[in-house]
């Protein structure tokens, strides 16, 4: 029973990781860039939705509000991601690989600080609104506690995954993305607007990160400007776990990581178990995967850019 309960907990946090991980994977698949600041895009999404609620719906809890909140989240994160691509990364597309990575760190720190300094009250964590049906007292199925926010999160992942599959395989832009990820130069010669495809990749990742921001807010009832850093790192772990560049891999990797973490918290006995070591095990998993199976669980395009 405990196992089942922790499995559900793990799948929930895993869904969140997966939603963010897609952003890493899509961008990496196309420009071979680890967008270190993607965790911040997720954070901005959460603040975007909170801003919508604070400005327009303060004090309300109707489920209908969720739609404008989601829109606000997505608008904020996509906006930030596109600006970031345009002004920070695009000028460095042919620079040595160190440059974009350091830029990413700079962008990440800047975004955190901008939110902390200029979002009203963000110097300490902000409470996130309670929305009917998707937060509040959990559903009780026998001994299993099912959080409402968990249902929302998993649902959001399912919908997003279906949308993503449709977008990449069925739309012209999506096929363009595939072409660019195979061979950017040829794709350019074939008349594909590579710049646009890259922007779309950033936007697509940001879209899912924005939704994840809302899910995070509903799950934990509080958001802060630092929530993006570890979430981003974990999501990157998930992306690598599944095979970076592989969208399905990001989803699988996220779920595996989430489940592994919650099971480790419950079942690793003794002094090296429990929450204090949970993150250590997650990072150990990351290193082991990178060293011994860099292509990830599901395999990826060959990504050796040595």
């Amino acid at each position: 029973m405990l196992f089942l309960q922790q499995l559900i907990n793990g799948l929930t946090s895993g869904s969140l990781y997966a939603l963010i991980a897609v952003g890493y994977t899509v961008v990496y698949g196309i420009v071979q860039l680890i967008n270190f600041a993607h965790g911040e895009v997720f954070m901005i999404g959460a603040f975007g939705s909170l801003a919508v609620w604070t400005i327009f719906f303060q004090g309300q809890t109707s489920i209908l509000i969720l739609i404008p909140m989601l829109l606000g989240a997505v608008a904020a994160s996509v906006g930030v991601a596109v600006l970031m691509e345009r002004f920070a990364y695009r000028p460095l597309r042919h620079a040595p690989r160190l440059a974009p990575l350091i830029t990413a760190i700079g962008v990440s720190v800047s975004l955190q600080e901008i939110v902390r300094l200029f979002y009203p009250g963000a110097k300490s964590p902000l409470p996130y609104p309670q929305i009917d049906y998707v937060s509040g007292t959990a559903l009780q199925l026998g001994d299993i506690t099912l959080r409402r926010s968990a249902i929302f999160t998993v649902g959001a992942l399912v919908v997003s995954a279906v949308f993503l599959w449709w977008f990449i395989n069925r739309t012209k832009l999506g096929r363009g993305m595939q072409a660019v990820s195979q061979d950017p130069d040829t794709a350019r010669l074939m008349g594909i607007n590579v710049d646009r495809v890259i922007v779309v990749a950033f936007a697509l990742g940001a879209l899912l990160a924005g939704i994840a921001g809302v899910a995070q807010g509903l799950q934990t009832n509080s958001i802060s400007q630092i929530m993006g850093f570890t979430a981003g790192l974990k999501a990157f772990t998930a992306a690598v776990l599944g095979g970076i560049g592989n969208v399905a891999g990001a989803v699988v990797g996220g779920l595996v990581l989430g489940v592994a973490e919650s099971l480790a918290t419950q079942f690793i006995p003794g002094a090296f178990g429990g929450t204090p070591w949970k993150d250590v095990w997650a990072f150990v998993l990351l290193i082991v995967v990178l060293v011994f199976r860099p292509q990830g669980l599901l395999g990826a395009r060959v990504v050796d850019r040595a």
């Binding site: 160190l98 955190q112 300094l117 790192l233 204090p276 250590v280 990178l290 040595a306």
Partner: protein, 579 residues
């Protein structure tokens, strides 16, 4: 900004279309020089008059014919402008052949204008009203404006390359010595300022002067001279560093910052081996400093120390370094299979694992080694013979406080690290690193032991950082896990990147900027991290190789810049001819 900083834009290049300013320059060429002279005279004259009605602001600027420090800055600027002007046309023509005095005048004029504008703004704001600005201030402002306009309108002339300038050796060495002395007194003066505004304005002045010298081509020449007299330069720099505590009148306020700069720089120099020389990225480097610090703490005589063995300090230094180097080897092992961005993430994860482990090993979660989040406090001061580093000592009439004592230890440590760094760089191993950076596959195919050299880079860098850590533990009195967070690693990397990859001087400049400026410019404190982030982004766009870059690194970041490559080659040939 870039138009000022790119030296190659002086001479009209093929396909260069004259713009409106060039037309103006042609028309008013003669007038411009007179304008410059007028401007600098007016600027200087204003400095002898009162700038501010209120004597409390920015030191005392309210007394006529008795210039305050800010006014002396502008007088200095005026004298420098006079030199440029006379080099442009007049008795110093001989000098004018070598330096681009027109551009230097423009830059200096704009800098002086900025300086005056900020000064007057500060006066007006702090005393609430423009009325509190005395006529002298306005006179100097107008003077600097005229100087800037005149400088901009001067016709640009092509100059000879300073590479071929031949001066007696004593002049060159003398220049180095004078610069070093200026560095010492400038630093002592700047650090003595408690008023953030004066400190900031001093920086504006220094930047304006330095930039104009840069525009004049002075630094290119200086770089060549420094190459020629490397030993003199090293000695001079060390002398300045050594004498610095004696300028502090026994106050520890700046020495505490200085020790932090040194520890930070020493660690960053270790990181520079990994990043700058071997071309690997490490985002968890602070862990090595932590490993050294924790080793020293657990082996110290603190009541909180968890290991019973208390070896002498030199043994501790060695042990701390070895523990860190061992960690470095472990962290380096994945380089066998992982490279680039993946390696960065692996190192980041290692850094986090280190920090989490240190805060977990408290007896509840694993063995009690580090006291977890409480850390190990109450680490006693170092004691060598009867010399206790915690006490104030008087040497030659100068009293030196606790931090000054540690400063000297760290200085020796820094010297060791610099030696190791530069000797490794100029050896078979250093060549191997460059080869790996340039083309790993080709290096491997030429028989370079790629994996071994990468491991060695990690281990040696970690070794040096571990040494610094052992001193840090005693100087800090306590060691806690929250000093070794990711952001600190990012700061270390930033010091290397800002200062210049692969160079010693660059790292020291980077470390000084990152540690000193936030301390002195307290009014930016809440915006410190934001500025840091933005600075990283801008730096990567504008000058990714850092302020003082190694030439090779510079080339790597500007693969397409042929002119730069040729220029560097010329320097190479010149050096070859010298030896």
């Amino acid at each position: 900004m870039s138009t000022v900083s790119t030296p190659t834009q002086i001479a009209p290049t093929p396909g260069y279309h004259p713009s409106r300013i060039d037309g103006l320059r042609e028309q008013h060429g003669r007038l411009a020089w007179l304008l410059v002279l007028t401007g600098l005279v007016v600027l200087a004259a204003g400095c002898f008059l009162s700038w501010s009605y209120d004597p409390e602001i920015l030191g005392n600027l309210s007394i006529s014919f008795n210039p305050g420090s800010l006014q002396l800055f502008m007088l200095t600027a005026a004298v420098l402008a006079l030199v440029y002007a006379l080099a442009y046309r007049g008795p110093l023509r001989g000098l004018g052949v070598w330096i681009d005095s027109a551009k230097a005048l423009m830059v200096l004029g704009i800098g002086a204008l900025g300086f005056m504008a900020i000064t007057l703004a500060v006066v007006a704001v702090t005393s609430s009203g423009l009325i509190n600005i005395d006529p002298g201030g306005w006179v100097s402002l107008v003077g600097s404006l005229v100087l800037a306009v005149g400088g901009s309108l001067l016709e640009r002339r092509p100059t000879k390359d300073t590479l071929h300038a031949q001066l007696p050796a004593w002049v060159e060495i003398g220049t180095i010595v004078v610069l070093m002395a200026m560095l010492l007194f400038g630093a002592a003066y700047a650090l003595g300022q408690t008023d953030g505004n004066i400190f900031g304005l001093f920086l504006v002045f220094v930047v304006a002067v330095a930039w104009s010298l840069f525009a004049a081509g002075f630094f290119t020449w200086l770089g060549i001279v420094a190459q020629r007299h490397r030993r003199v330069l090293m000695l001079g720099a060390f002398a300045v560093a050594f004498l610095f505590p004696f300028t502090q009148n026994g106050s520890d306020a700046n020495m505490s910052i200085a020790t932090q700069v040194l520890i930070f720089a020493a660690t960053a120099l270790g990181l520079n081996i990994v990043v700058g020389l071997a071309g690997l990225l490490d985002l968890g480097y602070i862990a090595f400093l932590g490993a050294g610090a924790y080793t020293a703490a657990t082996l110290s005589t603190s009541a909180f120390a968890t290991i019973g063995w208390k070896p002498p300090f030199l043994v501790v230094v060695l042990l701390g370094a070895i523990v860190a180097a061992t960690l470095g080897l472990i962290i380096g092992t994945p380089t066998l299979r992982v490279s680039g961005d993946y390696l960065a993430i692996v190192t980041l994860a290692f850094g986090e694992i280190f920090r989490l482990s240190m805060s977990n090993l408290d007896g509840n979660n694993g063995p009690d080694l580090t006291h977890g989040p409480n850390g190990i406090p109450a680490i006693p001061d170092l004691q060598i013979g009867s010399f206790n580093f915690g006490d104030e000592h008087t040497i030659l009439g100068f009293s030196l406080g606790r931090f000054a004592n540690y400063y000297f230890v760290l200085l020796v440590l820094a010297l060791v690290i610099i030696t190791v760094f530069s000797r490794l760089n100029n050896s078979r191993i250093g060549r191997g690193w460059v080869a790996i950076r340039e083309d790993e596959k080709a290096a491997e195919a030429m028989g370079v032991n790629v994996f071994g050299l990468k491991l060695f880079a990690f281990a040696s860098g970690a070794f040096l950082a571990g040494m610094a850590g052992t001193v840090k533990a005693h100087q800090d009195v306590s060691v806690t896990p929250d000093q070794y967070v990711f952001l600190e690693s990012a700061f270390l990397l930033a010091a290397v990147v800002l200062g210049g990859m692969g160079t010693v001087a660059g790292v020291f400049i980077g470390a000084t900027i990152l540690k000193l400026l936030p301390e002195k410019l307290r009014f930016i404190s809440d915006y410190r991290l934001l500025i840091f982030g933005v600075l990283l982004v801008l730096m990567m766009r504008v000058r990714p190789e850092g302020i003082i870059a190694s030439q090779r690194r510079q080339l790597e970041f500007h693969e397409e810049d042929e002119a730069l490559a040729e220029r560097i080659e010329e320097v190479h040939l010149e050096e070859e001819a010298q030896t």
